[in-house]
Symmetry: C3
């Protein structure tokens, strides 16, 4: 900004400082404990290379080097994660007033508990990957699934974030799942409880709410919402079960919405595309939408030959 | 590319050069004024750290340092933004034939006007953040909302892009909102006019068209389209109001489509999930879809016990 | 991790190593041929700057320098791409047991064939860009479309990935399209066959399955699925045509689903928003949903004035 640059800059700076004083609620000043979002997200990539060794790390791993590799990587992760967890604890009333030392210690323990559960995360993800392979004719190999499927990425990040959520770590779990949401279009709240052999195909637009409970061998498609019926209660609804329960071996096709904390989808149920379900469904039921009738309009010279195209007979197909 | 590498390379280069000559419309040669997309996007992150100081900047800000910090950051932003705006002006017929000096001056003024409006942007965003907190039982703190909610990210970028759009800056506004679209799945055209206390929950799949007008205290969910009825008119429709008007205190649930430039959704209206609305709705009305009937199919041994599950009684729930 | 850090780290490392031995299917050890995902994605950006010269490259290109620029960039791309293709071939049974030299040679040839088809890609993309301009009243210039439209980004990456798919390169095609899926929310399988003048508006949530065939001058909107009817057959369905065929000059509005490998959408057909189509549609037909009836609820003092708002008359509008 040429010539008057100096004065303009001074003017703009004063304007902003005034604005800071008017809206302090969206400022973080004198906090030495700001989370470093990019570092937190960086940890995810390192954790993925610990979970799927050899897939995401830069360097090739040999049988002989794997132990050193793992040790090094774990130390790196632990160092950064412990620090970010410590910072996050300052956001929690539960830790209010505690000294730097004590909080560092707590963060250390939480970090350790978290990392001890990585084998459990791998256990689940191995099952999720095989579910993806079995469930998707377009999948050519486990390699392809691990290295490119958004569903696997979102579920990996969710499984990590969920453990931190269980350990009552503030902010970080949501930062992780919202990062995955940005990368994949799949929005899984870290509070959701999800069993093994979980497969999300395509995934864009999937929403899984905070109090959702999902069993094992569940398969869902793009645009599926597992949500609340209404959130107009706002903060008064905090902690209330607002999202559905999905039992084992349920398949939910694209665009279906299943809403409400009292809604239970029984074992083995199949929900057809675009179904809007707000009540419980008994086990082994197949639910499909009697699809809105389609209207056909042919150009005049062909109006005669207009044959009846019944669209509701797609029943046997979708389910 | 071993052995024949040289000759192959020569051949491939010639192929491409020929292709460049055949399709010059998708080339930019001899333009010293190409926008640097990554720089433009980089500015967004710097502006966010000016709007929410302490949240996104790398370094911690103290009460004493905030003025210097702000001044420095503003200078940085102004420097890059002024240059990119200058480059963008070469894309506008309104500036055709003007000299480098004059265009630089215009860019300088536009940049100044833009930055002077940052306090107004903060004013709106402070309201948007509090609307998010009040509206979402899953929100744990303002910190969480500011640091991880995609809706807030998309609205922040939109509010900045909209001012540049009002200042008739070419290209940059759309580059900014499409960047946010990529990050969040929320597609807000910079031309849309949106009031304060605006909240987008989850957000993936939201589309808000160029001529949409949205009042204050409006809340929308994932998959909502505020769009045109048909765009088969193509460029002939430029400038025409093609998208709806949403008045104050309206809530629009997931998957609803509201289409058409003459469509006005009155104050206090609530639109249920998946509603498809192409006509105006009077104020204080609650609109919901008589949901497509669901069909149930039980495995034979249980067909007997099939009870009527009426799905249309969800009315009182959704609204 | 203070004090007990050492022992904790040792413990955690052993835990993970055990876990690696239990789930070897999700490990890649002693493979010197791991694809480098970030390098593969990096190639996309370089290829875009070869396809749209002057738009994405860092440096400005002059008529005199374009040949050198192109040669240099091609050499760079060829070098990295050839290596990554070679690595990918180790994932394919077709190349099992072949020596490093032979595989390098094959990779070299594939890379050459791929790059020789860049002019064809430009041919198609020039048509796609003009289709976007003609079809979208919100588009201000070709520059805007090339530099910011997610549809163009997704189609560009698809067109490149599809050639690699035709050349039977493993993994890389899907890594590319899933990268674009992450960036744009548009999920196009590299196996799909798509003609010229293809336009995707907004795009978030679009899914185009592996065996989809799309003609020329086709236009689709956000949330459109071109999918399979059911994938419960899993891997047994591999290779079977599971996704629809869309003929020339078809328009498909937002949220419509067209499913099934036997489903053919005839030339010039228009499909309205949210239509769910599982059967073939004859040419020149306009299909729209008889939209689910809307229910209105006014607050008591206004219940009297409740007028009939017929929502099914939107027919003439949407189509």
């Amino acid at each position: 900004m040429e010539k008057t640059a100096g004065s303009r800059l001074k003017y703009l700076t004063e304007l902003l400082i005034q604005s800071y004083m008017t809206h302090e609620e969206i400022i973080k000043i004198d906090s030495s404990n700001i989370l470093n979002r990019s570092r937190v997200i960086d940890i995810v990539e390192k954790l993925r290379s610990l979970i799927f060794p050899g897939y995401f790390g830069k360097k090739n791993i040999s049988a002989s080097s794997v132990e050193y590799y793992t040790g090094d990587m774990l130390e790196e992760v632990a160092y950064v994660l412990q620090e970010q967890i410590a910072r996050s604890l300052y956001y929690s009333s539960a830790y209010a007033g505690l000294g730097k030392e004590i909080i560092a210690g707590k963060a250390d323990d939480i970090c350790f508990q978290f990392l001890s559960r990585l084998p459990e995360v791998r256990e689940h993800l191995a099952a999720d990957v095989s579910a993806a392979y079995d469930g998707d004719p377009a999948a050519y190999s486990l390699d392809e699934i691990i290295s490119s499927y958004p569903g696997i990425y979102a579920i990996t990040v969710y499984r990590l974030a969920h453990i931190l959520y269980e350990l009552a770590v503030p902010l970080i779990p949501r930062i992780l799942t919202e990062h995955a949401h940005g990368v994949t279009g799949i929005d899984i709240h870290p509070g959701a409880v999800i069993g093994h052999h979980f497969f999300i195909d395509h995934g864009t637009g999937v929403v899984i709410g905070e109090t959702t409970v999902i069993g094992n061998y569940v398969k869902i498609y793009q645009g599926v919402t597992l949500g609340g019926l209404s959130t107009r209660g706002g903060q008064t609804l905090k902690g209330v079960k607002r999202h559905p329960t999905i039992e084992n071996h349920v398949t939910i096709y694209s665009g279906a919405s299943i809403l409400g904390g009292a809604t239970v989808i029984g074992e083995g149920v199949v929900i057809g595309s675009n179904a809007f379900v707000t009540k419980s469904i008994p086990e082994k039921t197949k639910v499909s939408v009697k699809n809105p009738e389609l209207q056909y309009k042919l150009d005049d010279q062909r109006r005669s030959e207009k044959e009846e195209l019944d669209q509701n007979a797609f029943w046997d197909w979708v389910i």
